[in-house]
Symmetry: C2
Subunit: 334 residues, 2 copies
């Protein structure tokens, strides 16, 4: 298997990306295509000892910044590291693409270069988050800010396949993010989506109030991208605010400092168990090719994990599975 | 001033409500009308020593539960403690109403019995939340799940008046909850609302991403009720999940237990500084009378604080101020 990796995406690019790729070729049989300014990549790569036949460099002199308009950037910067990495999937040169760059640009590029799976109305981003009891995915968290009820049904179908076939959960539970538990609660969108999800073959367990999501009792949480993004960002924001205040309070007295030192292993264990940041990369489900967005602050390990994740999606034939599920749901409908 | 209080609303009713009312008459000149089953209230009140002329009991044999359909309950249970308390404002028998009962029922009853302020399209709930730097309000958090852009502008206008005249903030900053900082970000609703807020006389500072809300840098956060509620519930859910996990981790070892004991004052200070639950009661802004929803888990102190809050809204003539602002904004428009 071959994966094209945007060497210039993310806060720690290209160093972290390159290190993650080298780790991947050393412990897996995946080959890598790295896209970015050739001389820069060659210079960086020369610092490492690795099998040169397994990392190919494709020159991409341009870089898309996180603040650029996604569609414009994809259209204008044809020689950007992201566009060249996407082209590899488009041309069959690679089997998957990974970038830690701008989410909007990856989505725009994915749609433009690779396209949607037939029958999928809207591709969606599905990051995995840590919960108290288990991890869960939210689909969508920002690719689609204005949704129709049928979009949400499809998010449920794609999320179900992902958790079932990729994550190995037998009958994933599917919940709808809503502001009340009862069927009649919510806005026009959730009320209609509820009906569609209930009538589907999914293991739909009903509405889930955001208050209970961090418990991690439900495998797949369906939402329009605006609400999903609001949840995701609040999750991250509240957690980091709490830890920042706690840190200040602990450091403000001798007693606090001593207590903090004693509790250090507890805090580390906690951090490991409940790192509120997304786990691994977030797949764009519904794109007709494997396309993973790694976290913007990815280190080498995160890139390595995203590469391994892409391999699982590839091995499990996620694209074919989504195609089948969507086709089946469309035939049931009519 | 006289306030009608729904004695049967909230998890700790009627005991906590009664204690809060007694505390209020002892330290302020506010008189109370308590509504609920007469014999029950009389029996409860008989346990306390207070000036009987200052708490009037109005018999209300029925109680509206939190799981009842709000509109149906308000229509059917005419003799419920909430309906009788609302009637007092409607008939001029009291100057404000407080309930810790069902938010939906208070809103439905407030609209039905007291009505909207002229020109206000949709009343909204505006709870205050603790932030790292300062407290802030979100308007709306659930009264309106499907909104038009003009609704959001009015939420901004009402939130501005509340923070300025009631909370004494000179030029409150107004932000729009959105999934990106730039003007062009968001869904159809936020994009249009952004334009209206920008053109208004408010101190509009632009979009605020949910991640940064807990910092408490912005005084008033405007949102449709679905997104506002999602934020609010996530805020509460993440915070309580973190503390529940931390508690388990601390108790799981001797070292943790010792560290936890040493850090107890730090945790208490933190809890005091950053109690993620709403502060005081949440006013329904846009109702043509002072109407406050106290937190469902209110204790006596919370009820006492809600009574004091109602007095400030009354003294500051919040209803008149909202009327003026809305009228002014409508005349500017045309």
């Amino acid at each position: 298997m071959k994966i094209s990796v945007d060497a210039m995406g993310g806060d720690n690019a290209p160093k972290a990306v390159i290190e993650g790729c080298i780790a991947a070729i050393k412990s897996t049989d995946i080959d890598i295509i790295l896209t970015g300014p050739e001389s820069l990549l060659q210079e960086q790569l020369s610092k490492y000892d690795y099998d040169k036949s397994r990392i190919e460099i494709l020159d991409a002199p341009e870089v898309i910044g996180t603040n650029e308009h996604p569609v414009m950037a994809i259209r204008k910067k044809k020689n950007s590291s992201l566009n060249i990495a996407l082209d590899c999937v488009k041309n069959g040169k690679s089997d998957a693409v990974i970038s830690a760059g701008s989410t909007g640009a990856i989505l725009a590029g994915g749609l433009f270069k690779i396209g949607r799976i037939e029958g999928v109305e809207r591709p969606a981003i599905a990051p995995m988050l840590p919960g108290k009891n288990k991890s869960f995915i939210i689909i969508d968290v920002g690719a689609n800010v204005d949704c129709k009820p049928s979009n949400l049904l499809q998010f449920g179908i794609m999320g179900n396949i992902y958790m079932q076939d990729v994550m190995g959960i037998e009958k994933p539970s599917i919940g709808l993010i809503n502001i009340g538990a009862e069927e009649e609660k919510g806005n026009e969108l959730t009320k209609s989506a509820y009906k569609l999800l209930k009538e589907s073959k999914l293991n739909f367990i009903g509405n889930v109030e955001p208050r209970y999501i961090p418990n991690g009792d439900v495998d797949v949480l369906v939402s329009d991208g605006f609400v999903g993004n609001t949840f995701l960002k609040t999750y991250e924001g509240v957690a980091s605010t709490i830890f920042s205040i706690l840190k200040t309070e602990i450091k403000s007295s001798l007693r606090g400092t001593i207590g903090g030192l004693i509790l250090k292993p507890v805090f580390s264990r906690f951090k490991k168990r409940f790192d509120y940041k997304e786990i691994g990369g977030a797949p764009f489900l519904g794109i007709d090719g494997i396309c993973i967005k790694a976290h913007g602050s990815s280190d080498a390990k995160a890139i390595y994990n995203a590469i391994r994740q892409a391999k699982i999606l590839f091995d499990k034939k996620i694209i074919d599975k989504i195609k089948e599920s969507i086709t089946e749901s469309l035939s049931t409908e009519s």
